[in-house]
C-alpha cells in the first residue's frame, strides 16, 4: 500500500527534482568552472575563482543594492496598498464582486505585455503622465532616462501589477476573521482604529507573512519587468541581479560566472526570506508575551 502511494508521487517528484534541485546542484558545480568564450565554451575547473570574482565585482554589488532597493520599495508599497484595497473590498459595498475582479486584472496580464504598456505610459514627452505635466506647464519628467527616477518608475509598474495579488490574499484573510469579534469589540466601545490594531492586524498576521515572503522572493528575482521596461538602464541603474546573470549567460556567454551570480542571488534570497520569517516569528512571540 505504502509503495503504491510513493509510486503515485514518483512522476511529480521526479519532475520537481529535475526542475528545482538539479539546476541548483548544477550551478554549484558550474560555479567552480570557467565556461565561456575564452574556454571555447567548454568547462574548465578553476576552483573558487568565480566566487572571488563575484566578491570583487562592483557591478554585482551595485546590482545587489539596486535589487534590494527595488524589492524593499515595491514590496512595502504593495503590502500597504494591498491592505488598503483589501480593507476597502471587505466593506459590504455594492458592486464589490465586480470591483474585486477588475482590481485583479492587472495581476493576470503577462509582465512583458504590461511592461511594454508602461513604457508607453512613461514616455517622454508623449505618455499620458507627461502630457498632463506639460498641460500644467511643468517640465516633462524623464521617467526612463534619469537614473534617480527610473528605478521608481519600475517600482510603480511592479506595484501596479502585483498589488492585486497581495490584496486578494489579505482579503481572504479578512474574510476569515469571525464577525462576532468585531461585534464584541464594538460592545466594549472600541474605535475602528482600535479594532483594526487589536483584532484585524494580529489575526491577519499569517496572511501578511505569506504575502510578504512570496512577494519578497519574487521581487528579488525581478527580471521580465526590468528587461522590457528599461533594459537595465539608464546606465545600468535599474539592472537587477537576475538580469545581470542573464546577460552574462546569453550576451557574454560566460556560463560559469552566470551560474555563480544565480547562486549568489539565491543565497541573498534565502537569507532575506529566512530573516523575515524569523523576525516575524520572534516579533509575534514577543507580542504574545506582552499581551
Amino acid at each position: 500500500m505504502r509503495w503504491r502511494l510513493w509510486l503515485l508521487m514518483a512522476p511529480a517528484l521526479a519532475l520537481l527534482l529535475a526542475v528545482f534541485a538539479v539546476p541548483l546542484l548544477h550551478y554549484l558545480w558550474l560555479s567552480t568552472q570557467a565556461q565561456s568564450v575564452l574556454t571555447g565554451l567548454l568547462p574548465e575547473p578553476i576552483g573558487a575563482q568565480q566566487w572571488l570574482r563575484l566578491w570583487n565585482d562592483s557591478r554585482f554589488w551595485q546590482d545587489t543594492w539596486q535589487t534590494l532597493r527595488f524589492s524593499a520599495a515595491s514590496v512595502s508599497l504593495e503590502m500597504l496598498l494591498g491592505l488598503a484595497i483589501a480593507l476597502l473590498l471587505d466593506q459590504p459595498l455594492r458592486g464589490r464582486g465586480v470591483l474585486r475582479t477588475i482590481s485583479l486584472l492587472p495581476w493576470a496580464l503577462p509582465t512583458t505585455v504590461m511592461a511594454l504598456g508602461w513604457r508607453w505610459i512613461f514616455n517622454d514627452p508623449y505618455g499620458p503622465i507627461n502630457r498632463l505635466v506639460a498641460g500644467l506647464g511643468l517640465p516633462a519628467i524623464p521617467f526612463l532616462s534619469n537614473p534617480a527616477i527610473t528605478w521608481m518608475a519600475a517600482v510603480g509598474a511592479d506595484t501596479w501589477k502585483t498589488t492585486p495579488f497581495v490584496a486578494l490574499l489579505l482579503l481572504a484573510g479578512l474574510q476569515a476573521i469571525p464577525a462576532d469579534l468585531y461585534e464584541a469589540a464594538a460592545l466594549e466601545g472600541a474605535t475602528p482604529w482600535q479594532s483594526l490594531r487589536r483584532i484585524t492586524l494580529p489575526l491577519l498576521t499569517p496572511y501578511l507573512l505569506i504575502a510578504l515572503l512570496f512577494r519578497l522572493a519574487q521581487a528579488l528575482g525581478v527580471f521580465d519587468l526590468i528587461q522590457v521596461l528599461t533594459g537595465g538602464g539608464p546606465a545600468g541603474s535599474t539592472e537587477s541581479l537576475a538580469l545581470y546573470a542573464y546577460l552574462n549567460a546569453m550576451r557574454f556567454l560566460d556560463f560559469g560566472y552566470s551560474a555563480t551570480l544565480l547562486l549568489g542571488s539565491f543565497a541573498i534570497l534565502l537569507v532575506l526570506c529566512g530573516a523575515a520569517a524569523l523576525l516575524w516569528r520572534g516579533n509575534s512571540r514577543l507580542q504574545g508575551a506582552l499581551r
Partner: protein, 263 residues
C-alpha cells in the same frame, strides 16, 4: 470615492493602451489632433509572422502544460493526503518553498538541459519546465481539496469493491472538479505569462510565445514610431487573458487564495 480611485488605478493604464492602439501615429506624437485608425492592428495581424501566431503558440503551450501538470499533480496530491502526516508535512513544506521560488533563477540550468536533450525550439517541450514550475502550486491546491473530501467516502467505495482507479474516477475526481478547474486556470495563466524560459528556449520567430514576442517587438525598430503598434500588441496580448479572468474569476480567485493559504 475610494472605489473610483481603485477603478481608475486598475483600469486606467489598460484603457490608455486601448485608446492609444486606435490612434494614428501622428496623433500619438502630437503632430495632429484627432485621427482614429485600425492601422496598428492591421500591421500586427499581417506582420511576419502574424501576431495571432504568438497567441496560438501561447495557447498550445498553455493547454499542454495544464494537462501535464494536472496529470502529475493529481496522483501526487492524492498520495500526499494518504501517506501519513509526518512524511506529508515535510514534503508539503518543500513543495511550498518551491512554489515561492522565483523561476528566473533556474533559466540557465534549464537551458542547458534543453540543449542536452534537444528540446530547444520545440514548442511542446516547453510544457516540461512549465509543468515542473507549476506543480508546487497545483499540488498544494489539490492536496487541500483532497483533504476536504471525507475519508469515509473513499472507504465506502473501498467496501463496495472499487479499485484505486475506480475510486479516483467515480468518487474522488468528480468531487475535486472545482479545485482542478482552479489549478488548471492558474497553470494556464502562468504558462501564458512565462518569459525567461520561453526567451531562452525559443529562438525561431514563428515558434515564439506571447511573452518573448512582446519583448522582441519592444526591442525591434521595424516600426517607425512604434507606440501605436506597441499598444495594439498590448491590447491583443491582454484580451484573451482578460476574457479568461472575467469568465472564470471565481475559480481563479479561489485557487489563488487557497493555494497561498494552505501552502
Amino acid at each position: 470615492m475610494a472605489r473610483l480611485l481603485l477603478l481608475l488605478w486598475s483600469l486606467g493604464p489598460m484603457l490608455w493602451q486601448l485608446v492609444s492602439s486606435l490612434r494614428t501615429s501622428d496623433a500619438l506624437s502630437g503632430l495632429a489632433s484627432g485621427g482614429w485608425t485600425l492601422e496598428h492592428y492591421r500591421q500586427l495581424l499581417q506582420g511576419d509572422p502574424p501576431f495571432l501566431t504568438y497567441l496560438l503558440n501561447s495557447a498550445v503551450v498553455g493547454v499542454c502544460s495544464t494537462a501535464l501538470t494536472l496529470a502529475l499533480a493529481v496522483p501526487c496530491a492524492y498520495a500526499l493526503t494518504r501517506i501519513g502526516r509526518r512524511q506529508a508535512r515535510s514534503l508539503t513544506l518543500l513543495v511550498a518553498a518551491a512554489a515561492a521560488f522565483p523561476a528566473v533563477l533556474l533559466f540557465l540550468a534549464l537551458l542547458e538541459l534543453a540543449r542536452d536533450w534537444h528540446l530547444a525550439n520545440q514548442l511542446l517541450a516547453l510544457s516540461l519546465p512549465y509543468a515542473g514550475l507549476c506543480l508546487p502550486l497545483a499540488i498544494l491546491l489539490l492536496q487541500a481539496a483532497f483533504a476536504d473530501i471525507p475519508i469515509e467516502l473513499e472507504e465506502a467505495a473501498l467496501i463496495e469493491g472499487m479499485g484505486l482507479w475506480q475510486r479516483l474516477r467515480w468518487v474522488l475526481l468528480p468531487l475535486l472538479a472545482p479545485a482542478m478547474a482552479s489549478s488548471a486556470l492558474l497553470v494556464f495563466l502562468f504558462s501564458w505569462n512565462e518569459y525567461p524560459i520561453a526567451l531562452t528556449w525559443l529562438s525561431r520567430t514563428e515558434l515564439l510565445t506571447l511573452a518573448p514576442a512582446m519583448a522582441r517587438i519592444a526591442g525591434s525598430s521595424v516600426y517607425t514610431i512604434p507606440y501605436g503598434a506597441f499598444a495594439a500588441a498590448t491590447v491583443l496580448g491582454s484580451a484573451p487573458l482578460i476574457a479568461l479572468m472575467l469568465l472564470f474569476q471565481r475559480q481563479i480567485i479561489s485557487g489563488l487564495t487557497q493555494g497561498a493559504i494552505k501552502g
